[in-house]
Symmetry: C2
């Protein structure tokens, strides 16, 4: 992510003049955290970090904190390290060949190296954050990190299950995705000594909307956009909101070919479930914005929220 990223440029316009320099400092910090643990780890942890991504979580930490200094940079790096660790482990479990268009650690180096790389990134995250000397920050990150593991499990537990409730689906999204964005906002608030809960709620809502929109995209396609066929979640047995709301008489276990998945996607789309899912996500984003406390960085946070929606429009 460079300083000319449009999302960041808008944050700068909204008063976040310090953000590009801080993001650069986060990148430097991530490179140090991923390096220096032996040549092999440096290669794989380093390539994971260097592969980039949106850096949405660090961006939230920086904007919520609204200030400069080592503590905010460390917190932003820590949350991204947990995110990277999770991605590496997810790729191990999925035996995924590519992530962000690059070969995954598991594909290039095997399961052992990838698992160890993920473990290392996890522990570097806590080492990084511990430097801030605030147990509340460590607690926030470890709570999110437990939630991520629990979310993965819940997804597994519900795989190919026909009767997943909306409530249970939302719980899974909170664990899998919202918890870490919530933690990013918590960390920003804690570093800056702001009231935590209203900002944590913003992160949680944005995260939930993010996951809902991602799940809509998996059904709506098009493949050129997502880089994969429609219905990959369904093929994996991951029952998402569009499928639940569509109430088709389809047993998820029967979705066993890409063609069948595409067909079920078409049937879901025909019910209006995509629009309903999307409307739910937009409502959550609206709530996230309207419930924001009146801070100087309110406008910048609203722009981040809009960015999440735009990404999927």
């Amino acid at each position: 992510m460079s300083a000319v990223d449009p999302a960041v440029a808008r944050v700068v316009d909204a008063g976040g003049a310090q953000v590009p320099a801080l993001l650069a400092a986060v990148e430097a910090r991530l490179a140090v955290a991923a390096g220096g643990h032996g040549a092999v780890l440096a290669t794989h942890a380093g390539s994971t970090i260097a592969a980039g991504g949106k850096r949405l979580r660090p961006l939230l930490v920086l904007i919520v904190a609204g200030g400069e200094g080592d503590a905010v940079v460390r917190a932003a790096a820590a949350v991204e390290l947990v995110h990277a660790a999770t991605l590496v482990h997810d790729d191990v479990l999925d035996a995924a060949p590519l992530r962000r268009g690059r070969p995954t650690v598991v594909a290039t180096a095997g399961r052992l190296l990838a698992t160890a790389t993920g473990d290392l990134l996890f522990s570097r995250a806590f080492a990084e954050l511990a430097e801030n000397g605030d147990a509340d920050q460590v607690r926030a990150l470890s709570r999110a990190s437990s939630a991520l593991a629990r979310g993965e499990l819940l997804q597994r537990e519900d795989a190919f299950a026909a009767g997943v409730s909306v409530e249970r689906y939302l719980t899974r999204c909170e664990l899998k995705t919202a918890a870490l964005l919530e933690a990013a906002c918590e960390l920003g608030a804690l570093v800056a000594g702001r009231e935590v809960e209203p900002l944590a709620a913003f992160g949680r809502r944005i995260g939930l909307a993010f996951q809902l929109l991602d799940d809509v995209l998996d059904v709506s396609g098009p493949a050129e956009r997502t880089g994969k066929h429609r219905g990959t979640d369904l093929l994996d047995g991951t029952v998402t909101l569009p499928f639940i709301l569509a109430r088709l008489d389809v047993d998820p276990r029967t979705i066993d070919t890409p063609e069948r998945a595409e067909e079920v996607c078409d049937r879901i789309a025909a019910t209006g479930a995509l629009e309903e899912s999307r409307a739910r996500a937009l409502a959550i984003v609206g709530e996230a914005k309207s419930e924001l406390p009146d801070l100087p960085q309110r406008r910048a946070l609203e722009l981040v929220a809009d960015g999440v929606v735009e990404r999927y429009s």
Copy 2:
């Protein structure tokens, strides 16, 4: 581990009257940490914890701290949670069917659940320790946890390599094993406000000796004792001190059957490399004991050191 464990009984005799009650409190804390994250996780994390083990790391924390209270119990639980997390991930990588005579998480529940269980145990460890509100403690644990990941990688990097040096082998042992025992002693010292380094050095040395003796046992057998064939490390490509010191003209890549491994074990034994390895371990234990600072719990720590040796005699 029950209060009648002979190692604990001796510690009690040496003045550690509070240790059995504290160990029981650690067990309760571990059960809580492993539970309460959804039914599936509770089952697997819980069974991992319940499967027990020697609880050597918590014991070190308790003895080094030498006092009571929530902080010492939390620190002891945290270090055992990291240990358990590592075991679960190691079993995933080895696709191990059994650990301590019980089916592993990966064998009963698959790789995904086992990886998530390990991640959860990791994050619960840091959550637990963060409650103590001391960044130095979190730093010590995350340093050890990074070392464990790096040790796994180093072992992989050196797999089937003929030219592993003694120094490189010792580095691997420090990372894989000694770092966490060192962290246990560090945590105990930090909780009690004692000088850290002399006690950390004790843990490091005991850990190193522990790994050396374990590696000797893999070559010396007998199988009835270890529950596995001699030379399982060699079969995995793990080059250990006895093999290095034996200087056989054997390429590790040629050790590809249990029979061949047993044969190489015999040849190693014939060189005296087992005695030399064992002597090195005992010298390290001696150093660990003699360099101990003069504390009331010195005797109890010496008994733990002796216990590590006895376990392998």
